[in-house]
Amino acid sequence: MEDIMALMRWEPYREFGGLQDRINRLFSDLHGRGRDDDDVMTGGSWIPAVDIYRSTSGDIVLKAEVPGVNKDDLDLRVENSTLTLRGERRISQDIKEEQYHRVERAYGTFSRSFSLPNTVDTSSVRADFADGVLTVTMPIREEQKPKQIEVQIGG
């Protein structure tokens, strides 16, 4: 028999129970959000937390928390000015559902897209993955040097 009283005393559980609601709301709000949100699109079963900041050297750095995700299950793409991070956290195949006493962590696929400022040099983007955090470093484009254009004179 479950001890219901103990469950209600722990307030943070209200946050976990409402996670699916929050995700659903995110989907429905997606087109209506007028905030300065860089998210173009969010999809999947869970939304990894992301920090984006300017490093002191001027690069833009994105850090995404994806603990328990294998490197092979991560997909990072930069297309035009959009950075898309996709991936999947797989649940262990060895443990059956009835063996779980508590499940708080999110599993399944995730997908987040971010608009990048056009000052990012997308060809120099690099990514590191350590301790469950994916760090994407995006250098700012150097000033383009003026190009020499050879003028052919037709005759």
Binding site: A6, A49, Y53, D94, Q99, R102, V103
Partner: protein, 130 residues
């Protein structure tokens, strides 16, 4: 694939609320061999910033994650949480608290509590009356 959120069972329902703004999620499950495993999402936490203590039958997990690493300038987006975290679990009497093991892989801390040998489920032979 979605996992149905499951409420606490009597075994670990004695968990106390965590302090601080950061609340890593934990899964608790039993292995096929009836060991108890707690898996906590602790990405980018240094080993020296994690403290695991067992007092009687209460296991307490504490961790600290500082806000920045010094090379951070202006934040454009800030969703990750920081600070101190503490969470306790009341362990069932079937586990051998002294045999606790912890491993940190890929940002996940896995705490394994082996089941006591005499608490393992076993078949009881039924003898017929002579």
């Amino acid at each position: 694939m979605t996992i149905v959120q499951r409420s606490g069972t009597p075994w670990v329902s004695g968990a106390t609320p965590a302090r601080g703004a950061w609340l890593p999620r934990c899964d608790v499950y039993e292995t096929a061999g009836h060991d108890l495993v707690i898996e906590a999402d602790l990405p980018a936490v240094a080993r020296e910033d994690v403290a695991l203590t067992i007092d009687d039958r209460t296991l307490t997990l504490r961790a600290t994650r500082p806000a920045g690493n010094g090379s951070e300038g202006a934040h454009l987006r800030s969703e990750r949480r920081h600070g101190e975290f503490a969470r306790s679990f009341v362990l069932p009497t079937t586990v051998d608290a002294g045999g606790v093991r912890a491993a940190y892989v890929n940002g996940v801390l896995r705490i394994t509590l082996p089941v006591k040998a005499d608490a393992r489920p076993r078949r009881v032979p039924v003898e017929s009356a002579a």
